[in-house]
């Protein structure tokens, strides 16, 4: 598959109370690429994600499939750009199935197609068996998978390769769930050409799953590139203030930090 550019940010500035809290440039996400946004707390990771998702109005331009993101009509944008929230509390007793069905909002599917699509996405994310359960009663990990099914449904009619933004997708999960969600996301990139931008905390997950990483610190990009090159013990120490030991695992061959 020819790699196509999904997102480019030539330069971007976010202000809060007249202070610059984020100033980044030259961010590119291509099809099939899983890019990690990492950095210490307060580095501006969420600010960057919120700027791309359209929750804030930063200075500068974001090009999405070559068009200024601001000029995309709301529903068309929603079909191409999905956000998996870090946590989502709903105080009303929707069933898991109904929450996933909300992903249909920007789509126009027939009733039968919609029902099939909901089921397919719930099966893909391993939450079909939760269909009838009330969403507020689900565990953190189950909620996450239901939300992921909803977002993937929302992106299912995209004409261009979609962009998926993940805000700490592994934070509420146990070890097995963390890896299963990342594998699933990786498969979306490899098989369906999704572009993914994910805020992650675990550097070993970045090393293992991500194609590219942007290391933020103090509101600017400190490093970017291939994770195994970026995350050398000395670089990690410079940014997080802790010097890890570096190991190499064999199958799969990945660098690991402890």
């Amino acid at each position: 598959m020819m790699k196509q550019t999904i997102l480019t940010i030539p330069s971007l500035k976010c202000l809060a109370k007249n202070k610059t809290i984020l100033s980044v440039s030259d961010i590119t996400i291509k099809t099939g690429e899983l890019s990690a946004i990492i950095g210490p707390n307060g580095a501006g990771k969420s600010t960057l994600l919120k700027a791309v998702s359209g929750d804030t109005r930063p200075e500068g331009q974001i090009f999405f499939h070559g068009r200024d993101l601001k000029t995309w009509p709301a529903y068309e944008r929603a079909r191409h750009l999905g956000v998996l929230p870090q946590s989502s509390a709903i105080s009303f007793p929707f069933s898991a199935h109904e929450v996933v069905a909300l992903g249909l909002t920007p789509l126009s599917l027939s009733a039968r197609e919609a029902a099939r699509s909901i089921k397919a996405h719930m099966e893909d994310t391993g939450c079909w068996q939760l269909s009838e359960k009330p969403y507020p009663m689900l565990s953190g990990g189950e909620k996450q998978r239901v939300q992921l099914a909803r977002v993937l449904l929302q992106l299912s009619q995209a004409q261009e390769p979609p962009l998926l933004l993940l805000d700490e997708p592994t934070s509420a999960q146990d070890l097995g769930q963390q890896h299963s969600i990342l594998k699933l996301v990786k498969a979306l990139c490899d098989d369906r050409g999704y572009g993914v931008m994910a805020i992650l905390h675990d550097l070993n997950q970045v090393l293992r799953y991500c194609d590219y990483c942007y290391v933020l610190g103090d509101g600017t990009i400190q490093l970017k590139g291939n994770p195994s090159e970026c995350l050398s013990p000395s670089n990690v120490e410079a940014i997080w203030g802790y010097r890890p030991d570096l190991f190499f695992t064999t199958a799969p061959s990945t660098a690991a930090l402890i």
Binding site: G54, A89, F92
Partner: protein
């Protein structure tokens, strides 16, 4: 938006159950209409009571009621039951929408103080403006009062997780106290004639059904049912959270503004025509949610139906239980609603109130 909500089948509750409950509500409503026509200080033969209404509509002569009995049915009971149903439907829909908007199942026009705000508007119109204008000035001022309060409460209680129950309830307490004080001041300075109008209005009764306020309620109800239904899909998405709804392509700011204005119109019109009637907007959507889930495409129309039924039955109780005198209908709804509200509050207590 309307086309989208209709293609939202996954979000629709099981059809048979939904139809069953609608049919049940309609049947109960018809039954209550019948009882409301014939029961009262003067009990009338039930068939004749209903025939009188048919005669009036069709120009026939089936009813064997005497003229004064016909007058009771057509000029007292019929307008009153129509007003009860429309006010009940509007209040229940406004309650359901307000809960969606605040993303909080405890929001209700009465509890959060919007009704009190509307009441201040109405009292200003009654107490300070010429009586000749009252047909329009009372609803208009009630709307303005309701709108200001909704904006205020929303601003106070908002947080990224929805709205804080604590802030919502405290804001309601504060606003109601303030509104009570304002109403007291205006009453204190009103002359005798205005004072009489004020106290009559404050009793909050459906007895004041006139063709003017029936017409206004009818138009309002039609507009609200139509406008709210168009936003049902967007309201569902809003329950996910504001950013999530925005990511789904919904213009959240414009949606919220529309809903705030529309609920203020609804509450304003209800308060203007029948005073403060509490708890309908809280109890009804909750009952529907318990039986059919929170999906607004079914919640909103069934809330209207159930609200109409609840207020009609409450009014029937209010005017027959101590006949020939009658109780304010708000007393009955509060008697039913307040324990319900407490139960909800207890249920919410574990969830980080």
């Amino acid at each position: 938006m309307s086309t989208l909500s209709s293609t939202n089948p996954g979000a629709v509750a099981p059809l048979s159950r939904h139809h069953l409950i609608s049919a049940l509500l309609v049947a109960l409503l018809v039954l209550s209409v019948g009882f409301s026509l014939v029961l009262g200080p003067m009990n009338l033969p039930s068939v004749d009571g209903m025939l009188a209404v048919a005669d009036n509509l069709l120009g026939t002569q089936f009813s064997e009621l005497r003229d004064y009995e016909k007058a009771i049915v057509l000029e007292l009971r019929l307008p009153r039951l129509l007003l009860a149903m429309m006010v009940g439907a509007i209040l229940a829909q406004c309650g359901a929408v307000m809960q969606g908007l605040f993303r909080n199942p405890l929001a209700d026009p009465g509890i959060v103080g919007v009704s009190s705000g509307a009441a201040v508007g109405a009292v200003i119109a009654i107490g300070l403006l010429p009586a000749a204008l009252s047909g329009w000035s009372i609803p208009a001022f009630a709307f303005a009062g309701g709108l200001l309060t909704t904006l205020l409460v929303y601003g106070l209680a908002r947080s990224p997780q929805g709205t804080s129950v604590l802030m919502l309830l405290l804001a309601g307490v504060a606003i109601s106290a303030f509104a009570g004080a304002l109403i007291g001041f205006i009453s204190y300075f009103a002359d005798d004639q205005k004072l009489r109008a004020l106290s009559l209005w404050q009793m909050g009764s459906l007895a004041g059904a006139s063709s003017a306020n029936l017409g206004l309620c009818f138009i309002t109800l039609l507009i609200l049912v139509w406008a709210f239904q168009r936003q049902a899909g967007a309201l569902n998405a809003l329950l996910l959270g504001e950013s999530e709804a925005r990511h789904l392509g919904i213009n959240v700011e414009s949606l919220k503004l529309k809903l705030i204005v529309l609920t203020a119109v609804g509450v304003g019109v209800c308060v203007a025509s029948s005073g403060i009637i509490g708890f309908v907007g809280l109890v009804v959507p909750h009952l529907i949610r318990m039986s059919l889930g929170p999906n607004h495409t079914t919640l909103l129309p069934l809330s209207a139906l159930c609200g109409a039924l609840l207020l009609l039955v409450s009014d029937l109780i209010a005017r027959t239980i101590v006949q020939p005198a009658e109780l304010p209908v708000g007393l009955i709804t509060a008697l039913l609603g307040a324990p319900f509200f407490l139960a909800l509050l207890l249920q919410q207590r574990g969830k980080g109130l």
